[in-house]
């Protein structure tokens, strides 16, 4: 059983949903309060969505100074698996653990709606149970979701296969290259703007997000996709 730490900042509001999604996938998931400095031997760390510190300055800008962030950075440097969802993605960019930044949506309004994203990379710890090119329907709910990177960074991401998810059909927020999620060069740190934890059961309108958590539990990012595909058929309870 994988140990999954869900970090809670003041203002996090997707922590309970994320915790539940990880547990439904069979992980041993627990909460780590932002003032703690120890992640409790986590195999996987997740920074959930929300409005850490109210996001009054800039999304994620204050949270990155939280005491827990030193341990999170250390976990990533040691090759540990780290996922940021929505506000968590913003924090990872602010902390320099992922390149680029998340800016105000192009339409200047908060947007809450389902979007279609294509899985572009399956060699990450969070996508190994998906098929490359598969199109998922997941909800977004963000005001600052426009992924922005300078042309060189964007080109590097593309060349390195670090774009993990891409908006298809339409780009809701004006993200560079339709980017919905990326990983670092080491492929152990991943950020995603849509909310996979909100689509893990048919009652919620779909379960396209469930395999992200099952991928975590399945263990290591893998080229042995054949071996784990069977696990992908497992449907988590709700």
């Amino acid at each position: 059983m994988r140990r999954v730490a869900v970090v809670v900042f003041p203002g996090s509001n997707c922590d309970a949903d994320t915790l539940h999604a990880a547990r439904a996938a069979g992980c041993e998931a627990y909460v780590v309060w932002h003032r703690e400095r120890d992640l409790g031997q986590a195999d996987v760390v997740i920074l959930p969505g929300g409005f850490s510190y109210g996001d009054y300055l800039r999304s994620g800008a204050i949270a990155r100074f939280s005491p827990v962030m030193a341990a999170v950075a250390e976990h990533a440097r040691a090759g540990g698996q780290l996922l940021g969802i929505c506000n968590g993605f913003q924090i990872l960019c602010e902390a320099g653990l992922l390149p680029g930044a998340l800016m105000r949506n192009a339409g200047l309004r908060f947007l809450s709606r389902p979007v279609s994203v294509r899985v572009e990379a399956t060699d990450t710890p969070f996508t190994c149970l998906y098929e490359r090119g598969e199109v998922l329907e997941l909800p977004i709910a963000h005001g600052d979701g426009r992924y922005a990177a300078d042309p060189r960074t964007a080109a590097e991401l593309e060349a390195g296969g670090q774009v993990v998810w891409r908006y298809v059909r339409d780009n809701p927020n004006g993200s560079t290259n339709d980017i919905a999620g990326i990983c670092n060069a080491g492929r152990n740190v991943v950020g995603i703007m849509p909310h996979p934890e909100r689509r893990i059961a048919p009652v919620l309108g779909g379960q396209d997000g469930a395999r992200l958590f099952l991928s975590m539990e399945a263990g290591h990012a893998t080229q042995h996709a054949v071996g784990v595909r069977a696990v992908g058929d497992r449907h988590p309870g709700v």
Partner: protein
């Protein structure tokens, strides 16, 4: 005689000063008699707040007492922060709706945001975790820039607050009408769930127990908000802008978590939001409810700025503050929980046994009032009620067409483009509707929103409804209609309606014509609630919704909660499968009074509004609930007929949800339905008690039998066509034949186009 002395610098108490505090001469005389001496400035402020209409319900109380409030499902009726109804397996639902109209009229963003904040606190102070927000909004027409500014600001305010706190905004309504141009209505509803055993109330008891302020510091914002809400809006109201409070949803989220932790900790005996009239109302109401006395040292309240007077501290409506009564020996425990959530918790007073509401500034007593009398001696008025003859004339009036009515398909397109009917996607897209991962049917998905709670199979269906046009023309029928439509909407998802909360938005009760509307609308609500078995568990009266151009249209808004045995069986509004059978339930009569058809084609709100047959309504509801359960769910979709009638309902069923690529075609033959009616009557009459359902062809016979068993008229209208197909409605004297894509385009772009967005 009680003792209290003026605070240095307080102005002398004069009749003018009392009047400025919205107290009549008779009311002030009553205060002096009650105290046995002149009031201090602080006391004047306290009475002004607690005897304001907003806090005292002095004009509405006798009428509110006629509403049905009991039933086996009622755990907590009116009088607490929120009503509570029983759910299966030890669960309960707490819910309430409240207005924030006046603040939103002068400062739409903060006004709406703090409205959301207040209603959240009302629910979580009951020990319930908020799981859904809804809002019911009314604005003037979108062709005026001021109204566009208000819509944009209010929607952003609601979104930014609810989104940050992490409670999904799942439903509500937006309506437009010229009557709201100077005075928009912003009603926010919150729904929370709790274990019934965790229910906590706001009654201070236990002599020696300690009062603490938890949360934000107290500043000079919002002083006199409660009395502001109890007067008419004038050109001077812009100057009231500083009385609008500023919201901080981040602190609210911390306060929510801290409050729920405090309630389950057992360290506290009571908790209350410091809402309208701030510290004054929360502490005085707590004392009155508990039958105890309370003593507060205003100098101990943490202030945001230096030099605040007791008067200001008592009346500030600074947001995100709670008043908590801690057990005498648990103060440190309470402070530890608050500190974990990075909040201040400061002892400011204690519960006493002398029945007095006493405020000191260190050693000086600045206010001392018998607690019960402060709440209970507020005068109660029985204003004159008389219908305005102009309304009688309006009811008799029929539109005189200046131009011939275009063919039905053009009328349908005009209606779909009409902002009160058109999709509200522009608004709800700005609200996080899926946080908490419990939304089974979100905005645009079903006639009511459906949420489920982790650890339970059941679902809650929630909606708000109220069509002011009907109330304007006939307040009794309009009141009934608001309840009936809400119940129908809940039942369309398959849920059994359980109970309501109501927000009664009217003009000045001191005008007989307005009070007549209020009284009659309440009579309608009461009758409908009795007939449908949905007691009123609380709500809010908002009077004085008047601008220089007159009173708003009388707008009672009903917030309904229903229970669905299984959330995963929730029935959506839209067609889902090709070749499914389309069935029309209920009876269509020629009832175009107050209709969208007359409003759009003739610019007229007139005539007799449709009558509500409560027995027929009840049968339809029983059928919809039974059909959703029988055989694992007989129906694939269900949608009620309301504003815009059967024509708009059929179009909405075909158009589908907001994020589908396209809708479905529809082949419906109405040539043998409602034989006496013309095409326009049949399509756009707004008769109540109707719904349209779709089901698989194999189940049509069972559905028809079930409807007949329930005594619900059922007409097999046709079938669902192909995706992206044409909507064909055949009538005896006309045909509608349009591609569904065209309908979608009109329906979904009407509002953003008008907002230039």
């Amino acid at each position: 005689m009680t003792r209290a002395t003026p605070f240095p610098g307080d102005p002398p108490i004069t009749p003018e000063l009392a009047r400025e505090h919205n107290l009549t001469a008779a009311e002030y005389a009553r205060i002096e008699a009650l105290l046995g001496r002149p009031a201090t400035f602080a006391e004047l402020g306290i009475f002004s707040a607690l005897w304001s209409e907003h806090c005292s319900y002095k004009h509405s109380k006798p009428i509110l007492k006629t509403l049905p409030t009991t039933g086996p499902q009622v755990v907590q009726g009116p009088g607490e922060n929120a009503g509570v109804l029983r759910l299966p397996d030890g669960w309960a639902v707490a819910f309430k709706i409240e207005s924030h109209n006046h603040p939103s009229a002068v400062e739409p963003y903060q006004g709406a945001a703090t409205g959301v904040g207040g209603i959240l606190r009302d629910v979580f102070t009951m020990g319930a975790r908020p799981v859904a927000l809804l809002n019911s909004l009314r604005f003037g027409a979108l062709d005026e820039a001021r109204n566009r500014y208000l819509v944009t600001g209010v929607v952003r305010g609601i979104g930014d607050y609810g989104n940050c706190v992490g409670v999904p905004t799942v439903g509500g309504e937006v309506d437009f009408g010229p009557g709201y141009a100077g005075n928009p209505l912003v009603n926010a509803m919150c729904v929370g769930v709790l274990r019934e055993r965790d229910l906590i109330t706001a009654a201070a008891h236990g002599v020696g127990n300690v009062l603490l302020v938890v949360g934000s510091r107290t500043g000079r914002d919002g002083i006199h908000g409660a009395s502001f809400a109890s007067e008419e809006l004038t050109h001077e109201s812009e100057r009231r802008r500083p009385q609008v409070q500023v919201g901080d949803p981040f602190t609210e989220k911390l306060l929510l978590e801290a409050s729920l932790e405090l309630i389950t900790s057992g360290h506290i005996v009571a908790i209350q939001d410091m809402g309208a009239a701030g510290l004054t109302s929360s502490s005085a109401e707590m004392a009155a409810r508990g039958g105890a006395g309370v003593e507060i040292d205003a100098a101990l309240v943490p202030a945001r700025e230096a030099g605040m007077t007791p008067y200001e501290i008592l009346l500030s409506e600074s947001q995100e503050r709670m008043l908590v009564v801690a057990k005498a020996d648990r103060v440190a425990d309470v402070q530890a929980i608050a500190a974990k959530w990075e909040l201040e918790a400061t002892p400011i007073g204690r519960v006493t046994d002398d029945g007095l509401y006493r405020v000191t500034w260190r050693d000086q007593v600045v206010a001392e009032i018998p607690g019960r009398r402060l709440i209970e001696d507020c005068p109660v008025y029985h204003p004159e009620a008389k219908e305005d003859p102009r309304i009688v004339a309006l009811r008799r009036q029929r539109p005189t067409p200046h131009v011939p009515t275009p063919p039905p398909d053009e009328v349908l397109l005009r209606l779909l483009d009409h902002p009160p009917i058109a999709s509200k996607r522009w608004a709800y897209e700005q609200y996080d509707s899926t946080v908490q991962a419990g939304t089974a049917l979100g905005p645009g998905g079903g006639d009511a929103a459906v949420i489920r709670v982790r650890g339970a199979d059941w679902g809650l269906a929630v909606c708000t409804d109220g069509n002011a046009r009907y109330v304007l023309l006939d307040p009794y029928e309009g009141g009934k209609a608001a309840v009936a439509e809400a119940a129908r909407n809940v039942a369309c998802t398959g849920a059994r309606p359980l109970g309501i909360t109501d927000c009664l938005n009217f003009g000045s009760p001191e005008r007989p014509a307005v009070f007549y509307q209020f009284q009659e609308a309440c009579r309608g609500i009461a009758d409908a609630c009795r007939a449908l078995g949905t007691p009123v568990t609380g709500g809010n009266v908002s009077f004085y919704n008047e601008s220089p151009t007159g009173a708003v249209d009388p707008t009672p808004v009903v917030g309904m909660v229903g229970l669905l045995g299984r959330a995963d069986r929730a029935v959506p509004s839209h067609a889902r499968e090709r070749n499914d059978v389309v069935l029309v339930l209920g009876e269509t009569r020629p009832e175009l009074g107050g209709s969208a058809l007359w409003e759009v084609m003739h610019g007229a709100v007139c005539g007799e509004p449709p009558r509500v047959d409560l027995e027929a309504e009840r049968r339809l509801i029983d059928f919809l609930v039974a059909a959703a359960v029988a055989g694992g769910g007989l129906v694939r979709s269900a949608h009620d007929c309301s504003h815009g009638g059967l024509g708009v309902a059929l179009a909405e069923i075909a158009m589908g949800g907001p994020y589908e690529q396209t809708g479905f075609g529809l082949e419906v033959d109405l040539t043998t339905y409602a034989l006496r009616l013309t095409a326009l009557d049949l399509l756009f009459s707004e008769s109540h008690g109707r719904a349209v359902i779709t089901c698989s062809p194999e189940r049509a016979a069972a559905v028809t039998a079930l409807a007949q068993e329930h005594g619900v008229p059922i007409h097999r209208g046709g079938t669902v066509g192909e995706r992206g197909g044409r909507v064909r409605l055949r009538l005896r004297d006309a045909t509608i034949d349009r591609p569904v894509g065209e309908l979608r385009e009109v329906y979904f772009t009407a509002i953003p186009r008008r907002l230039g967005d």
